[in-house]
């Protein structure tokens, strides 16, 4: 009983199978491309010790010098402090900055106060040891290279335009799938949306390639790939939102470029830290004053017909405020200012009942604090404090209505944790069981865009988008998308020592960490692996503020890549 519809159906299924494969190739290529194309392993300058005749390679843009074993340049000299000084490179040249040493740092015999420029052949005296600054080429032995960057080469792993082509094809396939929507509707509207999306993608690519003359585009490509999935998922669910989302992507991309430009000088954060803190606290406060309660959390501000979530933008500022250049971190080592700022932010979010975002801020605070201090106590103490507060609140929630009202939702969720099937028709487990059901219904390859039923549920396009993607495009695509975001952390870590300043490496690691934490809460909260919900899936979830802030955070990772500023095509 051969039937022509079998051929047609086989085509539909074939497309569904091709898409996960393409997604895997795209994400793999993005990261493969990131691993290549960097400057060769050569010291930037070197330090010559005239007395011993030894030569020390200086490989980083910022190098801590001291007696401590964890210093970048270790000097075994009792007159040298554990953290003595920092040798750093800026666009104006090399500088040395004393970070509160006992015996002082001298350049050509003059004691350094703040930063002092060092020229080639100048003598730097650290404790009783003297070094002469030499060019990098004067150091001849080969250096060991990092595992992640083992394939150093001048050739890119894949040409950026090819990568972009694959991404565009993926989004095209999504549009084609959406055309075969079971419910009819406007057959061509997915194609129109795809056209707008593809235009946005290629304009951005052209600007980066031709106008800004950047050599690499993988990070942006990854962002576009994920953003595009989020946009195209909406075409059969809420078409209008798809265009709003695309417009937000445009704003996000502009913000991305602006941030990269803005932080070109890594010392700038130090100068405008205080105003930024004030602005962000005011933004959060404004949503308490002006905000309307939406879905239990008062985190939305409405201006005319435009609504946005200030907390999303504050994420970017939070990272910016937290990071700093190495000599500044070593001079000013207490975290009091940042701790107060964090407590205010988290407190304001908790007041808005936006516990999901508050948790993300809290974890990000831990990451920043640890990256700056390296002291595990800075992690354990706040965790203990928050756990205590949580215990106190759950104790009070039963007794004081004002707290109970805000807190019971959270407690309910804990009650159903790992028992959601017993609460299938109650608020505590309603969303989770439907998420699981529809993920399983989609199978590995999905039911096709538009053919799912999960889209009819509340928050399916935002907090629960993992299930929406899994149902309509299959669990493989959903997991690949998640891993694509998670891998940003591996990448951010791999480029840590190659950043132009600890400002970039700290902000990149923390931005990636924030995204991973947010991703974990999103996926694991929805699938009952963690007892928390209410945050968005980076880049994919519908929500303008969230998407813009994700691009903002991506800018920090881009900035940490030294090629961003130093190499032009």
């Amino acid at each position: 009983m051969f039937n022509i519809s079998v051929l047609y159906d086989a085509g539909v299924v074939g497309l569904r199978i091709v898409m996960p494969l393409l997604a895997i190739i795209i994400v793999y290529q993005c990261y493969a491309a990131m691993r290549r194309r960097r400057r060769p392993e050569k010291p930037l300058v070197s330090l010559y010790n005239p007395r011993s005749g030894g030569m020390i390679p200086v490989v980083f843009w910022e190098n801590s010098i001291g007696r401590s074993k964890s210093s970048d340049i270790v000097i075994n000299d009792l007159s040298v402090s554990r953290n003595h000084c920092v040798l750093l490179r800026r666009s104006a040249g090399w500088f040395v900055s004393d970070v509160g040493s006992m015996s002082g740092t001298f350049v050509n015999g003059v004691r350094v106060n703040g930063r002092a420029q060092v020229l080639i052949d100048d003598i730097i005296k650290v404790g009783s040891t003297e070094y002469q600054l030499k060019r990098g080429n004067d150091f001849n032995s080969p250096l060991r290279s990092d595992k992640f960057f083992s394939k150093v080469s001048d050739k890119p792993a894949i040409q950026a335009w090819k990568l972009m082509f694959m991404i565009t094809m993926f989004h095209l396939f999504m549009a084609v799938e959406a055309m075969f929507w079971n419910d009819g509707g406007n057959v061509y509207s997915p194609m129109i949306l795809f056209g707008a999306l593809a235009a946005t993608e290629w304009i951005f690519f052209s600007v980066s390639y031709f106008a800004l003359r950047r050599v690499n585009f993988e990070l942006e490509a990854l962002g576009l790939f994920l953003t595009g999935i989020g946009v195209m998922m909406l075409v059969r669910q809420a078409e209008r939102s798809a265009y709003v989302q695309l417009a937000a992507a445009g704003i996000g991309i502009v913000l991305y470029c602006l941030i990269i430009k803005f932080i070109e000088d890594p010392d700038r954060s130090d100068k405008i830290r205080l105003p930024m803190m004030i602005v962000s606290v005011l933004m959060l406060a404004s949503s308490i004053v002006l905000g309307r309660v939406t879905n239990g959390a008062a985190n939305w501000v409405y201006i005319g017909s435009i609504s946005f979530q200030p907390s999303e933008f504050v994420k970017t500022i939070f990272i910016f405020v937290g990071a700093g250049a190495l000599d500044k971190l070593q001079t000013k080592r207490n975290l009091i200012e940042f701790i107060i700022y964090s407590v205010v932010c988290v407190g304001l979010l908790a007041l808005m009942s936006d516990f999901g975002t508050a948790l993300i801020f809290f974890v990000t605070f831990l990451l920043v604090a640890f990256m700056r201090s390296g002291d595990i106590k800075t992690v354990l103490l706040p965790v203990g404090a928050v756990a205590g507060t949580f215990g106190l609140l759950s104790f009070l929630a039963e007794r004081i209505n004002f707290i109970g009202d805000r807190f019971n939702y959270v407690l309910n969720r804990f009650k159903a944790y790992r028992h959601v099937w017993d609460y299938a028709n109650e608020a505590a487990g309603y969303q989770q069981v439907r998420v699981l059901t529809y993920i399983a219904s989609g199978g590995l390859f999905g039911v096709g865009i538009g053919n799912g039923y999960f889209k009819q549920y509340f928050a399916s396009e935002s907090d629960l988008v993992f299930a929406l993607v899994a149902e309509e495009m299959g669990v493989i695509v959903a997991i690949v998308t998640a891993l694509a975001v998670a891998m940003l952390m591996i990448y951010a870590r791999a480029i840590t020592t190659r950043s132009r300043s600890t400002f970039y490496s700290i902000s990149a690691c923390c931005a990636a960490g924030l995204l991973v934490v947010q991703l974990s809460l999103n996926i694991f909260g929805a699938t009952d692996i963690l007892p928390l919900t209410g945050v968005t899936f980076p880049f994919v979830s519908c929500g303008g503020s969230s998407l813009i802030s994700c691009w903002g955070l991506l800018a920090f990772i881009k900035a940490a890549d030294e090629r961003t500023y130093s190499i032009k095509r």
Partner: protein, 465 residues
């Protein structure tokens, strides 16, 4: 810079934790996908969802109970069979959640984790399911429940093989024809009240005298001279300050435990319950699974209820004859009673019943690991003694030991009629439980239903029909 790299390990740990979490989720997905999919709210399978391609459902002899022909779901050609097996097979909707067509719909329509639920029709593969039930036996029981009395009766009848666990007959009324499901509205909702509920699995009813099996078991285990005792029954007696009476206040005279069971004497069993005390009665009911739910093919039976009061001897006495009141009201579930009888017949072990012969894709079951699981409900020695004191009957060529029950339910309704027991024939080892609500004497209402089912079952199993 090196320090920054080292400290970033903390963030790396978050990422590793995330990847571990994704792995954990994947394992959960692989193990749970089928259960996750079979949910009544799943729009992919509700409505007519997917049945136009679903596999066949057959009874133990291969008779089609439901099959799809040219995209249409057809049920057995005999309307009585259709109605009798409605609660076992199910209909196109998912209204009867315990039915095979609801529980295993994803299986019937060929769900696999790889392809999900929306494979195009032409490429789908479906699976057939073979049940353990016998269609004519079910039809016979249904006929008796719906037409054997002055009016169609609510009730349930379950018969299962206590050696293999195969459910031969499972009928619940009221029922309807799945080929022509009724529109239930304000005018007929009383007629169809509880129609989606499988009384065999999901109801808990007042047991009346059938509960004496539990009281007797407690007495056998705790009163050494139980067989040399005798009681004098005047039909009514004050126990714990209030009256306890036999049915119709019939006086049974001087009787021992065996006669008391045979005549279903309330006075004797109420006294036994009082003598044993609340703690021993509660412990016995607990051991015999009255308050438990048993998992039958992924569905739990309704829990019964037994709770004896420690401070009211009259109520304690009444609970011992299956008639407690208020918070101490006795309840049992028909399937649970069949299992209890199976345990009496099978040296204390109740083999877990099953409706499924093959086809659910349950690998553990197909290779026999989860088949024939059993529950130890009664001490083997006690089971043998219960077998001796339970009245014997000859039904349809089977030697049957059984207990009748006539449970007062109040609300101006007539009593629940019960008949529960088992056959001792080795070629037909059947345990059964029948209940007819708003009826009368167990022997007048429930026994005929059991007779109809057992007679047909015996003939079918012995190959005479």
């Amino acid at each position: 810079m090196k320090r920054t790299l080292r400290r970033s390990t903390l963030i790396l740990l978050f990422t590793i934790a995330f990847i571990v979490g994704i792995g954990f989720f994947s394992v959960e997905l692989v193990l749970g996908a089928r259960d996750w999919v079979d949910q009544p709210y799943n729009a992919h399978i509700s409505g007519n969802g997917g049945l136009e391609q679903a596999g066949k459902i057959m009874d133990r002899n291969g008779a089609p109970l439901a099959e799809t022909v040219d995209g249409e779901r057809l049920y057995n050609e005999d309307e009585t069979v259709r109605r009798a097996l409605l609660h076992t097979v199910g209909d196109n909707s998912l209204n009867i959640s315990t039915a095979v067509q609801s529980k295993y719909r994803s299986n019937l329509i060929g769900y696999s984790l790889i392809w999900g639920l929306n494979m195009p029709q032409s490429l789908r593969t479906s699976r057939d399911i073979t049940l353990t039930v016998d269609a004519p036996t079910c039809a016979a029981a249904y006929n008796m429940l719906s037409t054997g009395f002055d009016e169609p009766k609510r009730g349930a009848c379950v018969v299962y093989n206590y050696k293999t666990g195969d459910v031969i007959c499972s009928v619940s009324t009221p029922s309807y024809d799945p080929a022509n499901p009724p529109q239930i509205d304000e005018n007929n909702e009383s007629e169809y009240e509880g129609v989606y509920l499988d009384n065999v699995m999901s109801s808990a009813l007042t047991p009346g005298s059938i509960f004496k099996i539990v009281t007797a078991a407690a007495a056998i285990e705790n009163i050494p001279d139980i067989y040399s005792r005798s009681w004098y029954c005047e039909g009514t007696e004050i126990i714990g300050g209030h009256e306890v009476h036999c049915y119709n206040e019939t006086a049974h005279g001087e009787i021992g435990i065996k006669e008391a069971m045979e005549h279903s004497c309330n006075i004797v069993f109420a006294k036994l319950a009082v003598e044993l005390g609340a703690d021993k009665m509660n412990a016995q009911a607990e051991k015999m699974g009255i308050n438990a739910s048993f998992k039958i093919d992924d569905v739990g039976t309704a829990k019964g209820h037994y709770q004896a009061p420690g401070n009211d001897e009259n109520v304690l006495g009444w609970t011992g004859v299956g008639q407690g009141v208020g918070a101490y009201e006795d309840k049992v579930n028909p399937m649970q009673m069949a299992m209890l009888c199976a345990a009496v017949a099978n040296e204390g072990k109740a083999v877990n019943p099953t409706y499924i012969q093959s086809g659910t894709g349950d690998v553990l079951k197909d290779i026999g690991i989860t088949r024939n699981q059993s529950h130890d409900l009664i001490d083997p020695n006690t089971a043998l003694q219960l077998n001796d004191i339970l009245p014997a009957y000859n039904i349809g060529g089977l030697t049957v030991h059984a207990k009748t029950g006539t449970a007062e339910v109040g609300d101006e309704k007539r009593p629940n009629a019960w008949f529960v027991g088992y056959s001792t024939d080795s070629d037909c080892p059947l345990a059964f439980a029948c209940v007819v609500q708003d009826a009368g004497l167990g022997s007048e209402y429930a026994m005929p239903v059991a007779e109809a089912a057992l007679e047909t079952a015996a003939q079918r199993l012995r190959g005479k029909m």
